[in-house]
Symmetry: C2
Subunit: 281 residues, 2 copies
């Protein structure tokens, strides 16, 4: 595995690979790898001749009040894990490499970025789409891999790819979970023992929603109320939102119909966690 | 020359060309070709194995009050002219091909798009950068050609390419002028005889600015006043702005120093015209 920190060097390497007709897979990450990241890498390893992982904690997707500074980082461990999965290039640019001091250009997906997580994180997705567009232009992958864990991110990036005609395929990989069901997240490392225990209610409430739907419930409000009841029983977990929405437009649904996204965000202590399931009715 | 109207077909053709190792040059246009467009095509013809001209009157760069509907169009003439210059592909997508009904994604360059023409056309450059980003992703050119006539557009697109890491070279071609000096523009076709005659004052005022600078004047305000005096002498010409600014940041300068852009916009009758010169001190 080659560790590369400059755009110029990465481009030179990938240009050679491309000339040999090899397909390129990209996994954009912010590092501090868990099984979810490794699943994305394994999937890319199966499907592409060349696997590129970018490891970059992107400042433009954090608000000043958020955890950019304290976002967990462990480069040596990440490097070892990526190498073990068979990644070819680990791209770790500096902030100076990614953003010029006079950076002025942003890619923004409107409307669907104001809902769900976007309601409480108004500039988040503008930062995400901008850095992902940059990574797409730097790497020019045939396929790019994202986790279903970040459901809204997947919807927003798919829309960007469609609207701006990026010539690549987005591959979405199921959410990796701990044995007890907690969605894996780099931020889980912040959880205290009691927060970790109580945070389990998030995936349980989604499972409960699925059971309600399987047993015939179709009224979104009833399902939300049942989920809220479960989550409110945990004093360290503060619900931010539950959304039952169309899986493409993210418009709230009053009835479960067709492909439905059930997504939620909550804080366990100070740690913001998200989770979701997609129901195919 | 192949005339192509779908993204899919254009991609298939260019993919074959690229596999043969051919370089691709793109000239994005809104059609109604004049010598300025043909110069861009000739330059691309000299420098690239494959020349693609896009002909698309992009609705997102016109405000509702502007001349999108009446923008001059003459497809058969454009086709003949492009073919005569040796263009390989003329890409003429429909609006439905370029923008899905639920289009949500925009590329925006901040700050430098609020100055000069952006002050009176606040959404114009957002439309330009969005459609140019789309064309870059569709065509994936090695080089893209723009005219110096649209000086601010050149600065904005260069910034977008730099900030979003588009892997291509921007080539800027000098403004094509009529024999008497009027900058060529598709909109010149709208000018009445008297407007056409009086519009000449725009290029003359820029020439006068150059002469003042050549003879030692460095105070921007003095140069502007001299230019204004000339332009005000023409009753059918209404000046919108004169800007004497840094050629990259578009910040107004009080003194001429280094590479300076002198740009102006005015209406001759109802026809909005722009022109500029770059002074290399």
């Amino acid at each position: 595995m080659k560790v590369i920190s400059t755009i110029k060097e990465l481009r030179a390497e990938l240009s050679k690979e491309r000339q040999e007709g090899k397909t390129i897979g990209l996994i954009p990450t912010m590092g501090y790898f868990h099984q979810g990241h490794l699943e994305l890498m394994r999937r890319a390893r199966e499907e592409c001749a060349v696997v590129v992982v970018s490891l970059y904690v992107n400042p433009t997707q954090f608000a000043p009040s958020e955890d950019f500074e304290s976002y967990p980082r462990d480069f040596e461990r990440d490097k070892r894990l990526a190498e073990n999965v068979g990644v070819d290039y680990l791209f770790c640019p500096s902030n100076a490499e990614m953003y010029l001091p006079n950076h002025l250009t942003y890619v923004e997906v409107e409307k669907i970025t104001n809902k769900l997580c976007g309601a409480s994180r108004p500039h988040h997705f503008k930062g995400v789409t901008t850095v992902v567009a940059k990574l797409f232009n730097i790497v020019k992958p045939d396929k790019a891999y994202f986790g279903q864990k970040d459901a809204q991110q997947v919807v927003v990036i798919r829309k960007m790819v469609e609207d701006l005609n990026f010539d690549l395929e987005i591959v979405v990989v199921p959410t990796a979970r701990e044995e007890d069901g907690l969605a894996m997240s780099s931020r889980n490392t912040y959880l205290s023992a009691v927060e970790r225990e109580e945070a389990l209610v998030l995936s349980k409430s989604l499972q409960h929603a699925k059971e309600l739907i399987d047993s015939g419930e179709r009224i979104a409000q009833k399902i939300k109320e049942e989920m809220q009841k479960l989550i409110k029983s945990k004093p360290h977990v503060n619900l931010e939102y539950i959304s039952i929405c169309d899986h493409k437009t993210l418009e709230e649904l009053s009835r479960i119909e067709g492909e439905t996204l059930i997504a939620l965000a909550a804080k366990a202590g100070k740690v913001r966690l998200i989770d979701n399931i997609v129901i195919r009715d």
